[in-house]
């Protein structure tokens, strides 16, 4: 009995599924990385595969481009600093003061994330180009000379990056602020310290470790940023590593080995940063984000509320309303200027966009892909989250590293590895939409697993253990206890994956094929190849479609969620 019982346990459904899912994740993630590394160390003839010689020469060539590394660092630092300032200020206002409309603003803070950074870059390009930018045209009309802002500079790039990729800083800092014990501040004020003094002497130091963690995380993200640098930097030959890689691959002949070396070095730096970040966050002596509810004391700031309200509105204006308005303004003109003549207005751009069947098929592909990615994603990532954080299967910790790996690799670099990896794969999925599906599932692993795990960890283990003690086998438990309890989290993860999929650029741009065009890279192609007014129109259409899809989905899931609770 003992032998069979033991072996029955060894091959239980749990283990099979657990290891199966782990194997899938490992293949998805490590297979492309292998190819990336292989290309980086390949010093033989680029045309010959498999590589004939390995060495470090490519990295030596890398040293000839110090400016690119420097640019990357400058832009990333600047963007991180700006994102932290914005994030901190907004987090403090929304989490700690009684500014009116707090709940609404908190929801709205996520909107810049939904608008892709590409859209932001396009819009700000139209606003801030030294010659043709609307802001500068207005400036000159008001009597200014030359230009007020030049968005095609490193700080311009950093500004747009901070606006559109920095909202994660807000989320992290707000979470830190919300999990602070308010009695610490109360102690300070009881002694008689002013609000400002309290904020500087008590709040700030308590929050600093969490902010530091956020800083490192955001910096790692900025290192891998692509869309903004592409639109705003490339015209002035201002390259960062990601756009340099893209250019190197697009050249003829493509300089794959150098691109791979660049990608690998970027990957190494990001990996290091994220490693440091995790050490800080899991050290435990810092304020951690738990399910324990501290209700942070919301300060009454009196008249200041309205000023702060204005600040929030200003941020939303700049981050959301202005870009969309700009694109709208441009899309209805023949040649977009700040002060158009009456005959400059036209709906031709929309007509042209509607008739381009590339657009239609790209949108359809994107929607289908997003749907598939989200649906398959929550199953795969749900099982992975369970495997890593709940099962006791040996090796689960290792899988966590594998799953979080893609976070350390910029999407473009990852796709580059995938391009090679899946090109030589015997099953012909290269150039098809299946490749994009695989790519999305891979690069979204950290996002999905983290989101689902967050919810999963809030579910007390004892709820599942109790089901065990009542005699329920693993699949029964999953069905009757785990999944229903996870449902709200799974739905949230689904929506997140859907949006992420629709706005994806870095991986898609390299892996698109003739039958598998998707919308965001198509907008980039349009920017390269058509008039900017048409590009603006496409960007607006994409935003509109995503927004419409989101509204529908949220309505549906709300109804589904209500049903589940019944």
């Amino acid at each position: 009995m003992s032998a069979t019982a033991a072996s029955a346990e060894r091959w239980s459904a749990q283990r099979l599924v657990g290891y199966g899912v782990a194997a899938i994740a490992a293949v998805l993630v490590l297979y492309p990385v292998f190819y990336l590394l292989q290309a980086a160390f390949d010093v033989g003839d680029p045309q010959t595969r498999p590589p004939t010689a390995y060495g470090l020469d490519n990295f030596q060539v890398l040293l000839n481009y110090p400016r690119i590394m420097l640019n990357t660092l400058v832009v990333s630092f600047a963007a991180t600093a700006m994102a932290l300032v914005i994030g901190f200020v907004m987090a403090w206002i929304l989490a700690r003061t009684n500014v009116p409309g707090r709940r609404a603003f908190e929801q709205l803070m996520a909107v810049p994330y939904y608008l892709t950074p590409l859209l932001g870059a396009l819009a700000w390009s139209m606003l801030g180009s030294p010659e043709s930018g609307f802001v500068n045209q207005v400036w000159r009309a008001l009597g200014g000379s030359d230009h007020l802002i030049d968005i095609n500079t490193p700080y311009g790039i950093a500004w747009v990056m901070a606006l559109f990729e920095g909202s994660v800083a807000f989320v992290m800092i707000a979470a830190v602020m919300k999990s602070m014990d308010p009695s610490l501040e109360e102690a300070s004020q009881v002694i008689g310290a002013s609000r400002l003094r309290t904020m500087l002497r008590v709040t700030l130091p308590l929050v600093v470790p969490g902010v530091l963690g956020a800083a490192i995380f955001v910096f790692a993200e900025m290192l891998g940023s692509f869309a903004v640098a592409l639109v705003l930097g490339t015209p002035n030959r201002y390259y960062v590593i990601t756009t340099a890689i893209y250019q190197l691959i697009q050249q003829y002949p493509p300089r794959i080995q150098l691109a791979a070396a660049m990608g690998t070095s970027l990957f190494a730096v990001m990996f290091l940063m994220l490693f440091v970040y995790r050490r800080i966050v899991t050290r435990g002596s810092y304020v951690t984000i738990t399910g324990k509810a501290f209700r942070p004391r919301v300060a009454d700031v009196g008249r200041l509320r309205y000023v702060l309200f204005g600040v929030c509105m200003l941020y939303l204006m700049v981050a959301v309303v202005l870009p969309i308005a700009t694109l709208l303004y441009a899309s209805v003109q023949k040649i977009a200027v700040a002060f158009p003549a009456a005959d400059n207005f036209t709906l031709d751009n929309f007509r042209a966009a509607a008739s381009m069947n590339a657009v239609g098929s790209a949108l359809t592909n994107s929607l289908l892909l997003a749907f598939a990615t989200a649906t398959i994603g929550i199953v795969l990532m749900g099982l992975l989250a369970w495997l890593i954080y709940r099962s006791r299967l040996p090796g689960a910790g290792l899988i966590e590293y594998v799953v979080m790996f893609p976070q350390a690799v910029p999407r473009l670099v990852f796709a580059f590895g995938m391009m090679w990896a899946w090109l030589v794969f015997p099953i012909p999925i290269y150039g098809t939409i299946w490749l994009l599906l695989i790519a999305y599932l891979t690069v979204f692993l950290p996002l999905g697993v983290r989101t689902i795990a967050g919810v999963m960890l809030q579910i007390d283990k004892s709820l599942e253990e109790c089901a065990q003690m009542c005699g329920a086998a693993w699949t029964f438990r999953l069905r009757t206890i785990t999944v229903p309890l996870l449902a709200p989290g799974l739905i949230a993860a689904w929506l997140l994956l859907f949006i992420a999929s629709m706005r994806e650029l870095g991986a898609s741009i390299l892996l698109m094929g003739p039958h598998s065009k998707v919308i965001t890279p198509s907008i980039v192609e349009s920017w390269f190849g058509t008039a900017s007014e048409l590009t603006a129109t496409l960007a607006l259409i994409q935003t509109g479609v995503v927004a419409a899809a989101m509204i529908v989905l949220v309505a549906v899931t709300r109804r589904l969620g209500a049903q589940l609770v019944e």
């Binding site: 003992s2 346990e9 239980s12 109790c466 089901a467 005699g471 086998a473 309890l485």
Partner: protein, 367 residues
């Protein structure tokens, strides 16, 4: 009271549980007779919950063996580890683990549904179980809308509705307020008797353990300190730890004075020269001895009481009013002693008093 049945229902033999490098349970052995309630008692971190969870199958043992009805459910040597859902046990959790997305009825019915019971059978058993915990009226309520005490009763009903042979309790009352806890203690005990289910109960609360258990296993640092009935543990602690954990105790060290021993009693001389008579209770008598005197067994009087043995003068240092009793701190030679007396008239500090204790209440510590 359990009968002296031959085969224990549950046997734990030299169980060890390690979490990575940390040993939570370092070699624990005990057995539970059918129908008995055995309590694992100890301070937090002593390994009692881990031991319980190992019996349940929620923790994986590292060494040793656990047998239920003579069959190993875990054995390191034989490579057996039956998963929790197949051991046929049942458990009440500290946090109640009530499933918020189901009604009270569905919560309780879960174990029966797992066992594929028919609808009629389920209805009958669930209603009976809910009735036994006085929650019959709440069957259709949303489980998350209950108070703590109510959730706990539902958890209880859920645990025994499918008639398991063993019930495991992981500090089920510690989340309730004191008054409710006291009442629930009695209810639980009655229920356990009525159902006759073998129970293993974990708590850090001494009163609970003493009130509810047939036998108690006192644990510390992953090891068993002493096993016995509540009476035994209370009256005859084996170690200083047990003596002071179970109720409050004065520990007196001294040299053995075999020359003064008489009437089957042992005699100790303290470093300050006091002689105290005590009982060995079969424990080995060495040269250096430690005895335990419960604070409630020390009697105080302003005049010298009658009797020869174990009467000493002492100086009163302070009294602390504690409601049902007063704690009196005296100085006896060099050593401070504590006595707990039923409410006394206040005595001034510094007064000389006499303390006395029955030698049978002076217990020699030792294996």
């Amino acid at each position: 009271m359990p009968t002296t049945a031959a085969t224990p229902h549950i046997e734990v033999e030299r169980l060890e549980v390690h979490f990575g490098a940390v040993p939570a349970v370092r070699g624990v052995s005990f057995s539970v007779m059918p129908g008995e309630q055995l309590t694992l008692l100890g301070p937090s971190g002593c390994g009692k919950t881990t031991t319980l969870r190992a019996i349940a199958g929620l923790e994986h043992g590292s060494a040793g063996e656990i047998r239920i009805d003579g069959k190993p459910v875990y054995s390191a040597r034989k490579g057996v580890n039956i998963p929790a859902e197949k051991r046929g046990l049942s458990m009440v959790f500290q946090s109640y683990a009530i499933w918020p997305h189901m009604s009270v009825f569905d919560n309780v019915a879960y174990g029966l549904r797992v066992r594929r019971a028919g609808a009629a059978e389920i209805r009958e058993k669930v209603e009976r179980a809910l009735g036994m915990v006085q929650m019959g009226a709440f069957a259709d309520r949303r489980a998350s809308a209950l108070s703590g005490g109510q959730q706990q009763r539902v958890a209880l009903a859920r645990a025994f509705v499918f008639q398991p042979s063993v019930l495991l309790f992981d500090e089920p009352l510690s989340n309730l307020d004191a008054k409710l806890r006291a009442d629930m203690r009695i209810e639980l005990r009655d229920l356990q008797h009525r159902l006759g289910i073998t129970s293993v109960y974990v708590t850090h609360d001494l009163e609970e353990a003493l009130a509810m258990s047939d036998r108690i296993v006192v644990m510390r640092d992953g090891l068993v300190e002493q096993t016995g009935t509540p009476d035994e543990i209370y009256a005859l602690p084996r170690s200083a730890f047990v003596a002071d954990f179970i109720g409050s105790s004065n520990l007196i060290r001294g040299r053995n004075r075999p020359d003064l021993a008489a009437d089957g009693l042992i005699a100790l001389e303290t470093p300050s020269g006091q002689v105290i008579y005590g009982s060995a209770y079969g424990r080995p008598v060495g040269d250096e001895l430690t005895v335990s005197v419960r604070t409630v067994h020390l009697r105080l009087s302003p005049q010298r009481p009658a009797g020869e043995r174990n009467v000493w003068p002492a100086r009163l240092e302070k009294t602390v009013f504690q409601g049902d009793f007063t704690q009196v701190h005296v100085r006896w030679g060099d050593q401070p002693l504590i006595a707990r007396c039923a409410a006394l008239d206040p005595l001034p500090a510094g007064q000389e008093v006499f303390i006395t204790v029955d030698p049978k209440r002076v217990v020699l510590l030792g294996a």
